[in-house]
């Protein structure tokens, strides 16, 4: 197992995000983290960017596409979107972008709260294996994983990126 500290990645993401927001002329965006790792990452980015809107969180359990195959996750947490979604620019944050299915579910859930002006995707880790046409706008690090390897964010204190070898 290899461990990578995430502070430098977060600092770089915060810089890239604020450059992107400036380039697009986005004012007063809101941020939403996806449970559980995405919320940890979002908390850091939210602080670094000094956003005014309170941080939101999503548990996408009710929107997963594999409910009929694996059922309901037993530790589902309430989603909390403490701002109006309509016409707002939203930064969606997750820890690892893999198949894209989690992001698909998260976007569906966001649209049930309203119609956002735009959605920006920021992820700490981008790895291969996409099964849907979804890409991140801001990426902390890109990993090329070997067959059987997987990456996991542990936290919340401290946040550490762990790469596990095949068992």
């Amino acid at each position: 197992m290899t461990q990578t500290p995430v502070e430098p990645l977060l600092a770089q993401m915060a810089g890239d995000l604020s450059a992107l927001l400036q380039r697009r002329g986005v004012e007063d965006p809101a941020m939403v983290g996806i449970h559980t790792g995405g919320v940890w990452v979002a908390r850091e980015l939210h602080r670094a960017l000094g956003l005014e809107q309170p941080l939101g969180s999503l548990d996408i359990t009710f929107y997963r596409d594999d409910f009929t195959r694996i059922g309901l996750h037993p530790q589902v947490k309430p989603s909390d979107i403490p701002f109006q979604v309509d016409d707002r620019h939203i930064i969606l944050v997750d820890d690892v972008l893999h198949t894209g299915r989690t992001i698909r579910a998260a976007m569906n859930e966001i649209f049930d709260y309203g119609r956002p002006a735009s959605v920006i995707l920021a992820v700490l880790v981008e790895r291969g294996g996409r099964e849907l046409p979804i890409e991140a706008d801001v990426v902390g690090t890109r990993l090329k994983l070997k067959l059987g390897e997987h990456v996991k964010l542990t936290g919340p204190e401290p946040l550490v990126l762990e790469i596990h070898e095949a068992a």
Binding site: F67, I70, P74, V76, S79, I81
Partner: protein, 328 residues
């Protein structure tokens, strides 16, 4: 009635929801936690989630109900399921079709869940024993036996108002305990959640014979029974289930057991008053109490939707996994 094995699968997860009796503290807590997540859905612009899309849920009511049937229906719709409401006394039962025939006919329509209310104790269990393996059965009230979703929405309401520690609570259940499936399910739920003290307060003629074995203290005097309690759950006087002279008169009942503002003074100053509805105003309680600041009666109705969404999605989960295994 042995239902633990019937309603829980070999991995300890909920398959049917028939009675509180025999369910573990962790399952009851999981129901309450899951319901908490669903409660937020109601305040959004789109008040539904796609979880049970493509599933068909049948509300099979052999006995009248407004609140329970409509909140089950709303819960199913908020989970994106299709819902069929069947009121049987107006249908085939009068033509002589047996319960099993009714069941087989509905199964042939490829349904995924039955929500059953019936005047006979054990009716939901009967369904659960005979349905095809992919179908879940939820008990929406059977005879005098159980009404588990009502009990869980009451627990959800108590937890929201009083916090998660049931151990420091005194709860009094007041009224017609003998005829009440709600009271039975509440007592099992309160005990499983380790409630500090559970009391029942009722005239001698309306206390079930096995009351002491349920793990409750029995009071026959209202003021003694609600002294210092944190929660008072009033029960409806079930006129339709009463035979013979169990009560002198409704007026006399109110004089002895009716809840009034004046009587509430002996309870904890922050006491919460509950009632599963429908209320007989001026029989079980004064309107002043029912509509007063301590009453959470309408919150109970709202919470019924989230709790029923939780139980529906949890029981459907077990089947989802069974289907997945079949495919591999």
């Amino acid at each position: 009635m042995s239902s633990t094995n019937l309603q829980v699968d070999d991995q300890g997860r909920l398959r049917h929801f028939l009675t509180i009796e025999g369910l573990s503290h962790s399952i009851l807590t999981e129901i309450l936690d899951t319901a908490e997540s669903f409660a937020g859905v109601t305040s959004r612009q789109v008040k539904k989630v796609p979880l049970l899309r493509g599933k068909t849920i049948v509300n099979l009511f052999f006995e009248a109900s407004t609140r329970t049937r409509t909140t089950f229906e709303l819960a199913a719709k908020r989970l994106s399921a299709d819902v069929l409401n069947i009121n049987i006394d107006a249908s085939s039962a009068v033509k002589g079709e047996t319960l099993l025939d009714t069941l087989r006919n509905l199964e042939a329509m490829h349904v995924d869940m039955f929500v059953v209310r019936h005047a006979d104790s054990g009716a939901a269990h009967f369904f659960a024993r005979h349905v095809a393996p992919h179908i879940s059965v939820l008990n929406a009230g059977d005879g005098r036996h159980a009404h588990p979703t009502q009990a869980m929405l009451d627990m959800f309401t108590i937890r929201r108002v009083k916090g998660p520690d049931f151990g420091r609570l005194r709860v009094a259940i007041v009224g017609d305990v003998m005829h009440s499936r709600v009271a039975r399910s509440q007592i099992h739920a309160l005990n499983t959640l380790n409630t500090g003290e559970v009391r029942i307060v009722a005239p001698k003629t309306l206390v079930p014979v096995d009351a002491e074995s349920l793990g409750v203290r029995v009071y026959h005097d209202l003021e003694a029974g609600i002294r210092d309690v944190d929660v008072i759950i009033m029960l409806r006087l079930q006129r339709e289930r009463m035979q013979g002279a169990m009560l002198p008169s409704e007026h006399e009942y109110f004089r002895l057991f009716g809840l009034t503002e004046q009587r509430l003074a002996v309870a904890d100053p922050d006491v919460t008053v509950m009632h599963p509805g429908p209320i007989n105003r001026g029989v079980e309680m004064d309107s002043q109490v029912a509509d007063g600041p301590r009453s959470v009666i309408l919150e109970q109705v709202t919470h019924g939707i989230a709790v029923r969404m939780a139980v529906m999605s949890m029981t459907m989960r077990a089947h989802g996994e069974a289907e997945a295994k079949d495919r591999h």
